[in-house]
Symmetry: C2
Subunit: 216 residues, 2 copies
DNA sequence: GCAAAAGTGTTCGAGATACACCCATGA
DNA sequence: TCATGGGTGTATCTCGAACACTTTTGC
């Protein structure tokens, strides 16, 4: 072998998205005296990459069973200030309700931030977040990934709102309903929402909750 | 830190595609006494991931200036027989002509194989190749990536042939030309091909050779 | 009865699809 | 003159885009 084998530190980092307060938000964590960063950390011996991302998400934000997908691997030698770290980045989506950040088993403090230019993350993590945002927006148009943001039962208006928030534009109600129902991925529950002074809304559920399908 | 920091071996591996003999082919290399594998190998100290992939491609297949894109990072602990290796996989495309496999500076023997179920690669590399193939086929429909297979000047029939080979279906000549010309990514050179006993074909060139654009 | 969101169909235009014949050349 | 691939236009269809009013409820 012409080159010596060298060894590297690997971390898995997760851009966790949710919809809160009519905005797309991302979760950052902070340890005492440190800056805000993405949930994530070292890959362990004999640990699968996906498992590592899920473990850090659980340890640092108390979350389980989230939808997770690999994003990209970042490895520029100078991307982190001190030692070189290869980061296998993921992005994940959680429904609007499932936001109990209670279960953090370490001293990390998790907190949600609105996706805009004021995110207090370091440059290397900002780069990851930006790519995750682009990927998410792109994937809306050719998959059913948006359903991962929905709770067990939801109204079509709520689903439309999710699309509008991520795409940053308003959609036509009738066209949206036609399109989303023709996908065949959601079904009526028979129940109604009944809140506010207006007509109750039909509640829908996802047919295959964990599954993201390609469409069109 | 609750978990000790551990160190890993990282390799970059490249699925290099080209069109040869009216087929989609992939390059594998073999060292004396070993099995066929993807070009690639250890990441070096202070070496960028992309640079590592390009370096191995140059060392093992004598190629430079190819179109390269990160595919996925594979890290299951048991994916390689002996020691665990994290593989950052890439895929790359080279034009039909640029196939001088002369410049290999190591003792690897590069060879082209038709993309089918008889590829002599190990299971872990076969998994990478399969994913690269899916990605390539998907990307045909929403980008100009196919142009990376074309030489400096080419006929529309040759380009259509590339699409047909990757998609595995025949296309209508008139509709294909309308679509590909309306993209605005290629232009006529004014020259003609003049080979075979038939009418000479107009030669085209790519407007922005290195650039893969999204379409539609 | 009024405010507020739910729910519902039709028309129109653009872009994709299907399809067949003449052209230029070499042998 | 024949074989071979190069080159071209139109009719049709499908899918997405635009668009407004009625319904049900709480107050």
């Amino acid at each position: 072998m012409a080159y010596p084998i060298t060894f590297f530190t690997i971390s898995t980092d997760v851009v966790l998205f949710s919809i809160r307060n009519e905005r797309l938000e991302v979760l950052l964590v902070k340890r005492q005296g440190e800056i805000w960063k993405l949930p994530g950390g070292s890959l362990a011996v004999n640990e699968d990459l996906d498992a590592s991302a899920l473990r850090h998400l659980h340890e640092q934000a108390g979350l389980r069973g989230v939808y997770l997908e690999q994003l990209y691997t970042f490895g520029q030698p100078d991307r982190t200030p001190k030692n070189r770290i290869i980061s296998v980045a993921y992005y994940a989506l959680v429904p609007l309700q499932q936001l109990c950040l209670c279960g953090s088993s370490t001293d990390e403090k998790p907190c949600w931030f609105t996706m805009d230019n004021t995110l207090p993350a370091s440059p290397d993590h900002s780069e990851i977040i930006a790519m995750a945002h682009r990927r998410l927006a792109a994937k809306l148009s050719y998959s059913t990934i948006a359903l991962q943001f929905m709770p067990k039962r939801f109204t079509l208006s709520a689903l439309q709102s999710v699309y509008e928030i991520i795409l940053g534009e308003t959609l036509d109600k009738r066209n949206f309903r036609k399109r989303v129902l023709s996908m065949g991925c959601i079904e009526t529950t028979g129940e109604f929402s009944r809140e506010g002074n207006h007509r109750p809304a039909r509640l829908y559920r996802v047919k295959n909750p964990g599954k993201v399908e390609f469409i069109k």
